[in-house]
Subunit: 447 residues, 2 copies
């Protein structure tokens, strides 16, 4: 019996393992799930007779190699820095490898050897990176093959809370890594618009959001991702004059997060003196600097940030507890860590909350003398806090590809990403079968 | 004949070497100046018969050790990371060491051994750190010894251009390291005011300046230094409710620099695509992001930053050449590097320009039931671009101390800074003799 090895049984593994086990009998394969915590591995397999949960200390090389050798395809959901170790084992043991991560320099260096051995080392098989690229490239190729010339490409993705579970003034809950949300956008964002380079420094990023329209869900805010330009060649969009990738948030989020950034609460490289005893109100007061806090903290904040005292942003800040005399309670915390700790509580999903992924691509292209606009939108919702749309869309692409590879599907050998139609077309078809569907709208614009 | 070895003949060495040579005959000692460029070493000695300029590759250990062994006191003006190598030589060869730098962890680790051998390894003998600490501590001790209780301490220093050489709308010219000026303040500034911690994130630092009054020179702007709290114990100011250290700039500087920061021009960790061909106007336009540049670049900048189109800040930005179609001309430049390149030209001192140092300490203290305020102000001007006040105030303290040490003055053994009266009192007296004098004003305030 053929076998798939899944390394790592954490949050992103659930949907992937479930998918693999669902098809194990019909396709006659087994699934071994290995994790540092054997209990977690057992739990994720859930007693399925085609599955097996085992404990694995990844640093235990002989055991790791024995597990890899016992299987035909390896899916690594380990921290990205560990992929290359696994990849070296796969090379010497002649096994295929699947990851959902970006390709590191070290991993890329193994490309020649993997190619020579006919091994497939496929990466970026998640949501972002993953589904975003596959669904965009598919449409770009399609437009170009019909003879269209793409002049603008806008793409945005957001991990959000579904409207039916949206019960807070930020309209946001964590469905993924909280730290990434707190530190999002630090540095400089760059994109291309009408042939011109645009740069956005972090302290202005959240004040320069755009609006997109999502069918059935109204207007949403989008702030620019760090680097939209690096996808130019991968997408085959060297001719496009506009290239913009961004992150989707609910209306009202960006203005309030801009206030958080202006206050200095996302600063991660500074240690607050006496942070264990300092309160959130104390921290905010300290961040007001010499801006006198006469008239109370709220008034001083509103004055500094030029906000309406009773307006929505002040309400959002207040709702977080930023003006409360409650100790931060963490030793040597940075403002970002103190903030994260508050958000972990405030933006936590309740057990029956549903998350929601929105992904939207907008292509403007010239076709037979017309200027056309194609919008492709995906809205996916989870069932509850455990069965999230996020976990599914991150886990399914790697699961689908690993299964197809095991069953003998063609794929380019070497270290690569799913940019070839023979890889992404069957994968997107399977996702569609599972309910992951983009709705498309096309309009012909004035010339 | 006793000898002093000066390692490094760069910009900060001139005034120091001149001082040492001036007193070499009366005190009967010699001065050896060693630099990687022998010509520079010769030039700085200037043919003085008590001096000798020699070439030295610091990595050439035997030659370095031979030079150190041939002298009695070593002054290291090498890059701070090299001090510890020299210090190890001094330990094994039984020589005293003098630097103008902060104490590194590696250097501090040699304290016990230096103490055991009775060797003096004295550091922070420059302007800042150096004269700022010595002149502050001297007055703090004096107030405390009379029974005064210091409640507030404000201290500010600025390397500026003298009014008679001030001919640009920024009222600033470089008298020291330009890169430090461009990157000044990045991170978070912290100080204490009225017993409360104050934190200032970088993107608000230059909008929160204070004003000080300098006798005879009017009002000047002061922005907060990175960490005013670390001097609390060194200064013996554990009781003070206000501790603020800052940097002095001319009126009008901070508002304009705030605009530079808001634009994103001080970002050092981002590489501008195609920076060699991109123009300054192009860079500024890119930094406007989606803020349309209709109506021209200047109008768009004024609109984004909320500036008067014909106001002083716009004039300052324009004077720098930020709106000119002139290529940056540097490969892979960051915005900060592109800016530095402009400033190097615009803020260059002309040969006969005079620089100016302002240093001001303000002590508020309770004394015999009165609330008093003591202001001590130093204004020092240079002669021209070579003989700057900056080079003198950075170089003289180390020179004076090295000479006194050679002549047998008492100093605490081990790795230390000039916080002991027996070190700073004679040093400050000598500086005063050389014209470096603080003027003091004391007032009794309402109670």
């Amino acid at each position: 019996m053929k076998k798939i090895l899944v390394l790592g049984a954490g949050r992103s593994a659930t949907a992937l393992i479930d998918y693999l086990l669902q098809h194990a009998s019909e396709d006659d394969y087994g699934v071994i799930v290995a994790d540092a915590q054997p209990d977690l591995a057992h739990q994720k397999v859930g007693g399925h007779w085609r599955g097996q949960g085992v404990g694995l200390d990844v640093a235990d090389v002989p055991r790791r190699r024995a597990l890899i050798e016992a299987c035909d395809v390896v899916v690594s959901l380990l921290p990205p820095t560990l992929h290359v170790e696994v990849a070296r084992d796969c090379l010497s043991l002649n096994r295929h490898l699947v990851t959902a991560s970006y390709i590191s320099e070290e991993l890329r260096a193994l490309d020649g050897e993997a190619r020579a051995r006919g091994l497939v080392f496929m990466n970026e098989l998640g949501l972002d990176p993953g589904l975003d690229h596959m669904s965009a490239i598919q449409r770009i190729r399609h437009i170009q093959q019909r003879g269209g010339r793409i002049v603008a490409f806008y793409s945005a993705t957001g991990g959000l809370v579904a409207p039916e579970s949206d019960d807070n003034p930020w309209h946001y809950k964590f469905s993924w890594n909280p730290r990434n949300v707190v530190l999002a956008g630090q540095g400089m964002a760059q994109y291309l618009e009408d042939g011109r380079l645009k740069l956005v420094p972090y302290h202005r990023l959240f004040s320069q959001y755009r609006l997109i329209h999502v069918p059935g869900l109204g207007a949403w805010e989008v702030y620019a991702n760090r680097d939209s330009l690096k996808y130019r060649e991968i997408y085959g969009l060297q001719q496009a004059k506009t290239l913009f990738r961004g992150t989707i948030r609910h209306r009202g989020f960006c203005d309030a997060w801009h206030a958080i950034v202006q206050l200095g609460l996302t600063e991660a490289n500074f240690t607050i003196p006496n942070s264990k005893e300092m309160t959130y109100a104390g921290l905010v007061e300290a961040l007001l600097g010499q801006n006198a806090s006469e008239g109370g903290l709220r008034k001083a904040v509103a004055r500094l940030l030029n906000l309406e005292l009773e307006g929505p942003v002040m309400r959002q800040l207040e709702w977080l507890g930023l003006f409360e005399e409650r100790p931060i309670g963490i030793e040597s915390a940075s403002p970002a860590l103190a903030l994260e700790q508050l958000l972990l509580e405030k933006w936590a999903m309740h057990p029956h909350d549903r998350d929601m992924i929105i992904m939207q691509h907008l292509f403007e292209y010239d076709f037979q003398g017309q200027h056309r606009r194609l919008t492709a939108t995906l809205v996916a919702k989870g069932d509850d806090r455990t069965h999230t749309a996020m976990a599914r869309l991150v886990g399914w692409p790697a699961g689908i590809f690993a299964r197809k590879l095991l069953l003998g599907a063609a794929a380019p050998p070497g270290v690569s990403t799913p940019t070839h139609p023979e890889v992404y077309e069957p994968l997107l078809r399977e996702l569609e079968r599972m309910g992951v569907r983009f709705t498309e709208e096309e309009e012909i614009c004035s010339q």
